[in-house]
């Protein structure tokens, strides 16, 4: 299992567009990927649930990755957050 923590910088938070891109990115891997924030969690491959977390600017999110390609997924997702959120 791999995980990392990230604080959202985007002023609108995890809004529809980047959430959609995150779903696409997560879909490239077979690992189970979850996003946790504010005591709630959602699978990163499910757009509506992910948006349902209502993640805002300044919120701390934990991304957990478990599966065969977890190392590659960890690297790709950490980069994705840094660049898009």
């Amino acid at each position: 299992m791999r995980d990392f923590t990230y604080v959202i910088k985007d002023p609108v938070g995890l809004h529809a567009r980047p959430a959609g891109l995150l779903v696409k990115k997560a879909g490239e891997f077979t690992s189970r990927i979850t996003i946790e924030s504010g005591g709630k969690s959602a699978e990163a491959k499910k757009l509506i649930m992910l948006m349902g977390l209502g993640i805002k600017q300044g919120a701390e999110v934990v991304c957990r990755i478990e599966g065969e390609d977890e190392d590659a997924a960890h690297e790709a997702l950490a980069k994705f957050f840094e660049e898009n959120l």
Binding site: G13, H15, A16, R17, K46, L47, I48, M49, M51, G54
Partner: protein, 538 residues
């Protein structure tokens, strides 16, 4: 005449006929179907067709309105790929229900999820879920895409408008918008602002067919919607509208123009902003930069101190939005008169002269250091200037510069990317104005805060309405202090701006130019007005 009140999301006046836009009523029944597998296939085929439509709409919108507005169709397509949404609908079909009912159920369920959220942006997404569900249902029922068509320009009146409806509107045919639902963040509101058309949302009106074709007035200044107004009222509104259009055209012509007098004297006109969203208005108003970004919004209306990351994100967002134009950010300017309980400030007899602004920052350095760290990290993303409020002595500036140096060194040591920033002070105490020759040796610029400088110079409390009569913002003492400050700044080779309300006072524009003020920072809505005043000068 019928008069309705609504929430104005865009100012302006529209007069014309009503185009009543009603969606085709789709009858949804919970009828069961015998062949579950066939219905399942019908559903997934409709979803595929809807996605193909959305791809086409995205391409069209990209051509017509640009990526920012087209993006919504990409999001819709992704929502139609959501596993939970598809499984919920498919589950209803497995239970034997018809596909239209299944999609309607899934749409309602997920729209409610968004509608219940405490974030206004996310609540707005309920409309997107309904929009995609209707799209699939129309395909299942073989109904045409919903369109709005009219030969003459009209005022569009609707329950609410979905993004797929708004983006396809022929913009030449629309005078204004009135919706029963909606919010300041709804697609209607965003579109109205981008089209610069008056719009009201939350108008409590029942949409009877009789409305269609009636004459109406949408007044975005007053937030009122008049149906079939009397002759007298109508002509009043026509006058108001003509005035608005004339003002708008005159100001619009000033966009892209230089702030220069007829004899060739130039001055910078920047905007004052109070939060990240305001930067948008500053850009739209063609401001040359941000002359005062009040950082207080980060501290107000909350229970704990804003983190370094939070501040960094906000500062960076504004710097990036301004694309290399100068952004002057003022550090924390809070005192006992502001309700920020977590600061633990004791009530004071005289908060205007009390423990506030830089005095707090130099006493409780941890608050100051967090802000400076965020500022210097953000500086790597644009052209930043930092300004300190309530200065009365050179010693304060020297202490600030020591702390700044320490913060920068620490950030570099941590391997963080750190940018450069000009350092300046507010001249808002008579003390600072009087010794501005000494202070000018310590900093890169001055910004004269005329609101506080007026109240401290005249000893007039600006919150006390009884004193309005003697609060003379053109008082000779004040003007002499300003002139002296400008002269001392220039002798030391630094620039000087005005960021108080006086900057937008066009009676003084000529005088500001004469004494050599380098920059005026005014409300975004006043940028073009002041530019017009500058250009009218000999």
């Amino acid at each position: 005449m019928e008069r309705y009140i609504g929430k104005s999301v865009m100012r302006g006046i529209a007069i014309g006929r009503i185009y009543l836009y009603k969606k085709v009523d789709v009858q949804v029944t919970d009828q069961k179907v015998p062949d579950v597998e066939a219905e399942r296939e019908r559903f997934f085929a409709a979803v595929e067709q809807a996605k193909a439509q959305l791809t086409r709409l995205y391409d069209e919108a990209l051509q017509n309105v640009g990526e920012e507005h087209a993006a919504i169709f990409d999001v819709h397509k992704m929502l139609l790929e959501d596993e939970d949404y598809l499984e919920t609908a498919a589950g209803e079909i497995e239970n034997g229900y018809n596909a239209v009912y299944a999609v309607d159920q899934a749409g309602t369920q997920f729209a409610e999820l968004f509608a219940a959220m405490d974030d206004e942006y996310m609540r707005g997404r309920a409309a997107d879920i309904r929009d995609i569900s209707r799209r699939v249902i129309r395909i299942l029922l073989d109904l045409p895409d919903e369109e709005i068509s009219s030969d003459e320009p009209v005022v569009l009146v609707a329950e609410d408008l979905t993004p797929s409806e708004t983006v396809k509107l022929d913009k030449k045919k629309i005078l204004g918008f009135v919706t029963v639902k909606g919010s300041a963040n709804s697609h209607t509101a965003i579109l109205a602002r981008s089209m610069n058309l008056p719009a009201l949302v939350n108008v409590d009106i029942s949409l009877s067919d009789a409305l269609h074709g009636q004459t109406c007035v949408v007044d975005g200044f007053e937030g009122e919607f008049l149906v079939e107004p009397e002759e007298e009222i109508l002509s009043e509104k026509v006058v108001r509208k003509n005035q608005w259009v004339a003002d708008l055209e005159a100001l619009e012509k000033l966009k892209g123009q230089d702030n220069i007098t007829k004899s060739g004297k130039r001055i910078d006109i920047f905007a004052n902003i109070g939060n990240v969203e305001d930067a948008e208005a500053a850009c739209a108003a063609d401001a040359g930069g941000i002359g005062l970004f009040r950082s207080e919004f980060l501290y107000l209306g909350r229970e704990t101190f804003p983190s370094e990351e939070e501040q960094y994100a906000a500062y960076r967002a504004v710097l990036e939005k301004m694309e290399g134009k100068k952004v002057v950010i003022r550090t924390l300017d809070i005192g006992a008169d502001k309700k920020v309980d977590y600061f633990g400030l004791e009530p004071e007899e005289n908060p205007a002269l009390g423990y506030r602004a830089i005095r707090i920052c130099l006493d409780r350095e941890e608050i100051f250091i967090t802000q400076l760290r965020a500022l210097y990290r953000a500086a790597a993303h644009g052209k930043l200037a930092i300004m300190f409020p309530m200065i009365i002595s050179a010693d304060e500036i020297k202490r600030i510069k020591q702390i700044v140096e320490m913060v920068r060194e620490e950030l570099v040591k941590e391997g963080k990317s750190v940018g450069e920033a000009e350092l300046g002070i507010m001249i808002e105490t008579p003390a600072a104005a009087v010794i501005s020759d000494k202070l000018a040796e310590e900093v890169d610029f001055f910004s004269i805060g005329t609101n506080d400088l007026t109240q401290y110079t005249l000893a007039v409390d600006r919150q006390n309405q009884k004193l309005d009569g003697i609060c003379d913002t053109h008082h000779e003492a004040l003007l002499r202090l300003i002139e002296m400050t400008v002269k001392n700044a220039h002798e030391a080779g630094i620039w000087v701006g005005i960021c108080g309300e006086l900057g937008a006072d066009t009676e003084l524009t000529e005088w500001f130019l004469k004494i050599g003020v380098d920059e005026l920072s005014v409300a975004a809505s006043a940028v073009l007005k002041v530019r017009g005043a500058v250009r009218a000068l000999p």
